[in-house]
């Protein structure tokens, strides 16, 4: 079937259809309405509709939410008998799947792009290509969850390094100004890269980073997104400093080892969660002197949760 995109329904499509259920009622809907319905299914279910009939074969390629959820495969990987070679086979299958889907995908806009699978830095070429694809399509929500919780911990040196250079490439500016949410797990993303996002994504509301080995400091200062409402950082063991100044931040969650916090003029901050667990000992990892210094800037704090 030729890929065809009808932008609106002609009157002819509506008339003369009788009411029997044997008539293809859903097929009478124009493509854009069907794509709208498909984007409410899981991405896999949307792709699976390609087998219904030739009319449906390429409809899913216009869905703007690309959720590459490798959950089922991860469950296989987490089973007891899983070997390294089975893991690598599942990894290759996942990568092939994403590559294949992106080769067919047809929408110039990607609202949401989510990668959820156990992938290490040896897949950097593919992952880099996926990120370029998403960032070139006015992406709003980016999630890179390269989890290592299923097969076994990898360590920072095996984590994928986020390609900061890609963002700075001047000759090929990337349209990242629509980004509203960024979540990364088991990705080595640096403070520099995050600060680049913060300064170049005026709509950025939500930033969440966990298990980055390259994050040593994060400065959210004037020039950063004024839209930022939620910041979450967890288990970044090389992190030493988080500095937040002149920000509209509402919620800040931190979990990890003891670090320096510097908060100044954060008048909308109403929820703050600070906690950490090191080794087998539960202990408060908070500098109380520093805390007493910052409290005057947090007059409206509703929730302070130390765990």
């Amino acid at each position: 079937m030729a890929k065809r995109w009808r932008s609106s329904c002609s009157e002819k499509d509506n008339k003369g259809l009788d009411k029997h259920s044997s008539i293809d009622r859903i097929g009478a809907l124009p493509d854009d309405l069907l794509v709208n319905i498909l984007s409410l299914l899981t991405f896999k279910e949307a792709i699976a509709t390609s087998v219904l009939s030739s009319r449906w074969r390429y409809l899913w390629t216009f869905v703007p939410k690309l959720d590459f959820d490798g959950g089922e495969s991860l469950l296989k990987v987490s089973s007891k008998g899983c070997t390294k070679s089975l893991l690598n086979k599942e990894r290759s299958a996942y990568v092939e799947w994403v590559d294949h889907v992106l080769a067919l995908h047809n929408n110039s806009t990607v609202e949401e792009f989510r990668v959820f699978f156990d992938l290490d830095k040896s897949y950097k070429d593919s992952i880099g290509k996926w990120i370029r694809y998403a960032l070139a399509r006015k992406i709003q929500r980016l999630e890179l969850n390269l989890t290592d919780e299923f097969y076994g911990r990898r360590g920072y040196d095996k984590y994928y390094d986020f390609p900061y250079k890609l963002l700075k490439r001047v000759e090929n500016p990337i349209a990242i100004d629509c980004l509203k949410s960024i979540c990364m797990n088991c990705v080595n993303v640096s403070g520099e890269a995050l600060e680049f996002f913060l300064c170049n994504c005026p709509l950025l509301e939500n930033l969440s980073v966990s298990e980055s080995g390259q994050l040593s400091s994060l400065r959210i200062i004037s020039g950063s997104s004024r839209s930022l409402k939620s910041l979450e950082i967890s288990l970044c063991h090389n992190l030493e400093l988080v500095e937040i100044r002149d920000s509209n931040l509402v919620c800040f969650k931190y979990e990890g080892p003891r670090i320096n916090f510097l908060l100044e003029n954060v008048p909308h901050l109403v929820e703050m969660f600070i906690g950490g667990l090191l080794g087998s000992k539960f202990k408060m990892l908070f500098d109380f002197n520093l805390f007493s210094l910052i409290t005057p800037t947090m007059a409206f704090l509703d929730i302070l949760f130390l765990f």
């Binding site: 859903i26 809907l29 279910e45 219904l52």
Partner: protein, 163 residues
């Protein structure tokens, strides 16, 4: 627009099978298409809605009246929408999504689309084809090729009914 004082303005809508309906302007302007006509001053007489039949328009007007009577409470609106759509068969839903699109009513359109998606969720290909009257025009070889093309996808899709 609605008069500043006095009785609320009523509009007359005409379906494509020539049925006439009276509806309060305050409810009808949930449709951006109708609102634009009102704002442009084209709503004086009868408003013809060429893409909506009488049965569907009656349903849409019930929705317009119901939802506009609820104050700004998103929870209550959602529960009204769920109840309103709960007894609609698929043919009606398909007509309503077309009408909502034509009338430019995003809240109704989103709710009906979500309802149709809900019907499709976790169902086998055979079930969806039967339910929606979709004719399979693939040859067995073509169908096998499409399944092979998306092998990884089909592995992960669970279905309630595989007949």
């Amino acid at each position: 627009m609605a008069a500043e004082t006095g009785t609320p303005t009523t509009l007359t809508l005409k379906s494509n099978d020539d049925e006439l309906f009276s509806v309060a302007e305050s409810a009808a302007i949930l449709s951006v298409t109708i609102r634009n006509m009102v704002e442009d001053g084209c709503a004086g007489g009868v408003i013809p809605l060429d893409n909506v039949d009488g049965k569907t328009l009656a349903s849409v007007i019930t929705y317009m009246n119901g939802i506009s009577a609820i104050p700004a409470d998103e929870e209550k609106k959602k529960s009204y929408r769920d109840k309103f759509l709960s007894d609609k068969d698929f043919e009606t839903l398909a007509d309503m999504v077309l009408a909502a699109n034509y009338l430019n009513m995003s809240c109704l359109m989103d709710a009906v689309s979500a309802k149709i998606a809900q019907v499709m969720e976790k169902k086998s290909v055979g079930w969806v084809r039967r339910k929606f009257g979709i004719e399979n025009d693939y040859t067995p070889e073509e169908e096998a090729a499409v399944k092979e093309e998306h092998k990884w996808t089909f592995e992960g899709v669970e279905t309630d009914d595989d007949n």
